[in-house]
């Protein structure tokens, strides 16, 4: 295979990996704090894309305002989702909360089918993202360059937020020990809302960029990426933000490279994540960067 082609695939793998990483962080943060798989996270990502789509096509707003609106509305939506579907079940068995999460996911998907219509929509791509760049003989669509850069900026800000601010410290405290954090006077509910908000912002950023890269919108578009990104979070070590990023990149690169190097396996692309998940769970259930925990007897 020519070097150019390999580079081409790498670029694609990195941008897909970036998108997965952004989505995986949302899962890992929520799981870290609530021990809950937020099944609806993939649907929040879908909403982000649709909101940007409608701001551009129905309200004719410039793309950057549309993207901003998408991020803000999605963020609010994430917070509302937590209040409506998860907060009432704070003290319920985990199985109930998980069913509620699955229910929320299906509710959003079905609502989206009713409101947005089931037919695919084409995401309008501003010219700045669709330029073909030629770098050293490799032709790359500019969006593939933007995605990793924007992801890097988002991760940088997130890292600062979590490690260098008061609210970040509170988040880490809640994820280490929920009860103790509450006893220390941390308003746990606010922290949880904040976490959902942050996760949803990242999902919206991911969603918008997903639309730019794969411009076909359907109400169920969040389902598969959602599942896969949860897997990315598990692979990296659930609750660990760096792990989620690592998992996202492994998954993104892995999928692209499988298709690139073994076209006969391309039909199995969607199975890659699940196989990876099962291997990781059996070999190192705590994930690549996760810590082992044992139940106290």
């Amino acid at each position: 295979m020519a070097l150019q082609t390999i580079l081409q695939h790498l670029v694609n793998g990195i941008s897909l990996g970036s998108l997965y990483a952004l989505l995986a962080i949302g899962y890992t943060m929520v799981y870290g704090i609530l021990r809950l798989i937020n099944f609806a996270h993939g649907d929040i990502f879908m909403l982000g894309t649709y909101i940007a789509f409608y701001s551009m096509t129905a309200f004719f707003l410039p793309w950057w305002i549309s993207f901003l609106i998408a991020i803000i509305v999605t963020c609010i939506f994430g917070i509302v989702l937590e209040r409506a579907a998860y907060r009432p079940l704070r003290d319920s068995p985990r199985i109930s909360v998980m069913i509620s999460a699955i229910g929320a996911s299906f509710l959003i998907e079905n609502l989206a089918i009713v409101v947005f219509g089931g037919r695919p929509k084409a995401f309008p791509i501003p010219t700045i993202f669709s330029k073909i760049l030629n770098i050293g003989g490799v032709s790359i669509v500019s969006v593939s360059i933007f995605i990793p850069i924007i992801t890097a900026i988002a991760l940088f800000i997130l890292n600062y937020l979590v490690n260098n601010t008061k609210i970040g410290m509170a988040m880490r405290a809640v994820s280490k020990d929920y009860e103790a954090a509450r006893l220390m006077g941390i308003n746990v509910n606010n922290i949880i809302s904040f976490t959902f908000g942050t996760g949803s912002i990242l999902a919206a950023i991911g969603g918008v960029m997903w639309g730019l890269k794969y411009p076909q919108l359907i109400p169920l578009m969040g389902l598969m990426p959602g599942l896969k990104c949860f897997i990315a979070a598990v692979v990296g070590g659930i609750g660990n933000i760096r792990g989620a990023v690592l998992g996202g990149f492994i998954l993104g690169l892995g999928e692209i490279l499988i298709v690139a190097f073994s076209p006969t396996l391309s039909g199995y692309r969607d199975a890659f994540a699940f196989v990876l998940l099962i291997v990781i769970l059996l070999v190192k259930p705590s994930g690549l960067l996760g810590q082992n925990t044992t139940e106290k007897v």
């Binding site: 021990r35 809950l36 798989i37 579907a85 009432p88 079940l89 319920s92 985990r94 199985i95 109930s96 998980m98 069913i99 509620s100 699955i102 229910g103 929320a104 299906f106 509710l107 998907e109 079905n110 609502l111 089918i113 009713v114 089931g118 389902l223 599942l227 949860f230 897997i231 598990v234 039909g267 199995y268 969607d270 199975a271 994540a273 699940f274 196989v275 998940l277 099962i278 769970l281 059996l282 259930p285 139940e295 007897v297």
Partner: protein, 358 residues
């Protein structure tokens, strides 16, 4: 024969009588729904065994159903029908000319699904809670992806059309005896299982794994047992569903299908056989009844244009409401047992008797 066994027998005979009447009076559309009810009873019970009684949160049901449906379809279809279906890529020779009778194929559907249950359960049953959920979900997706890609066995994304009717005489009126026959057998099987020593062991695992193990219960063995039994019935349910629909394709066995069954189990009460049965019937009928929501509605002279998908919105919302406000579902973990009924009857008649005495 004890009083309870007699009551059970009487009610089974009553059931058969009711089915007989329904079968000869209902139209084909209603019969189809009635069949669907029976199938969902089987599916709900099989998932409830795993999720409700052993407390393993498995989300892999659609995968086992797919295995059952494809197995039975490929084993019952005549060679010519297969040839017509597999026009893109011919079917593998060893499957092309196989044609078994329906009951054998149905049983094989269960056996193969159970076999998959062993293969999947052995590695993943070491996991707990949401990890188990996501791993089983993963496996069911893998099964679907495999079925989409093994063109010469499953006909890939095209699916298989023209599955034979349920039954051996190739008559539509026969289906009800198979669907509800299997459903009744499943109910009895589950009731006997749950009330025996193994059922108690299952419940112990649900209540507290560590304590159950300290009581000498081999966790892995018992979990696998329940998982495999559940897969077996899921395979049979899937096979019946495939024959009832007449057409199967990999998309039919998406996570949504598992979700429907989870919905039934949750509504009925996680860990209640009676709950699952009642809820399966209610949900199946309601799902059909609510189809009006998807179509156009006329109120007076106004026509409200129906939006496809409204029905599912209502259902997802319903699940949310149940799980948030009414977590125990219809039955909780309670059962409708003869003891319970007899006790109630006594309670009602006792005061009456006392009055008579005084």
């Amino acid at each position: 024969m004890s009083k309870k066994t007699k009551l059970t027998l009487i009610s089974i005979i009553a059931c058969i009588g009711i089915l007989f009447i329904l079968n000869s009076t209902l139209g084909s559309y209603q019969l189809r729904i009635l069949n669907l009810c029976g199938i969902y009873v089987i599916l709900a019970l099989s998932l409830n065994l795993i999720n409700g009684f052993v407390g393993l949160f498995s989300l892999g049901h659609a995968g086992f159903m797919a295995i059952g449906a494809y197995t039975s379809a490929l084993l019952t279809m005549p060679p010519e029908a297969k040839e017509m279906n597999f026009f893109l890529k011919p079917i593998v020779p060893w499957l092309a000319n196989v044609q078994l009778s329906f009951p054998i194929a149905l049983f094989m559907a269960g056996v193969l699904a159970a076999g998959a249950g062993v293969l999947i359960g052995a590695p993943v049953l070491r996991l707990k809670d949401d990890y188990l959920a996501i791993a089983t979900l993963g496996f069911s997706e893998i099964i679907r992806v495999i079925f989409t890609n093994t063109q010469s066995i499953t006909n890939g994304a095209l699916g298989i059309k023209g599955l034979p009717y349920i039954g051996i005489f190739n008559k539509a009126s026969e289906a009800i005896w198979w669907t509800w026959g299997v459903a009744i057998i499943t109910i009895i099987f589950m009731a006997l299982l749950i009330n025996g020593s193994y059922g108690r062991a299952f419940k112990a695992i649900r209540e507290d794994e560590i304590a159950a193990e300290a009581m000498g219960i081999n966790l892995f063995k018992h979990k696998l047992m329940a998982f495999v039994i559940g897969s077996f019935f899921a395979g049979i349910g899937g096979a019946l569903l495939g024959h009832l629909m007449g057409t199967i394709d990999p998309l039919m066995f998406r996570f949504l299908l598992t979700f429907n069954i989870v919905l039934i189990v949750v509504l009925g009460g996680i860990g209640s056989i009676t709950g699952s049965v009642i809820s399966a019937v209610i949900v199946t009928i309601a799902m059909e009844a609510l189809r009006v929501l998807d179509g156009d509605m006329q109120i007076g002279s106004y026509i409200i244009k129906g939006i496809p998908g409204t029905r599912m919105v209502v259902f997802s919302a319903l699940l949310m409401i149940v799980i948030i406000f009414y977590q125990r579902g219809i039955m909780g973990t309670n059962e409708f047992t003869w003891d319970w009924i007899l006790k109630r009857q006594k309670k009602i008649s006792e005061p009456l008797n006392k009055e008579k005495v005084s």
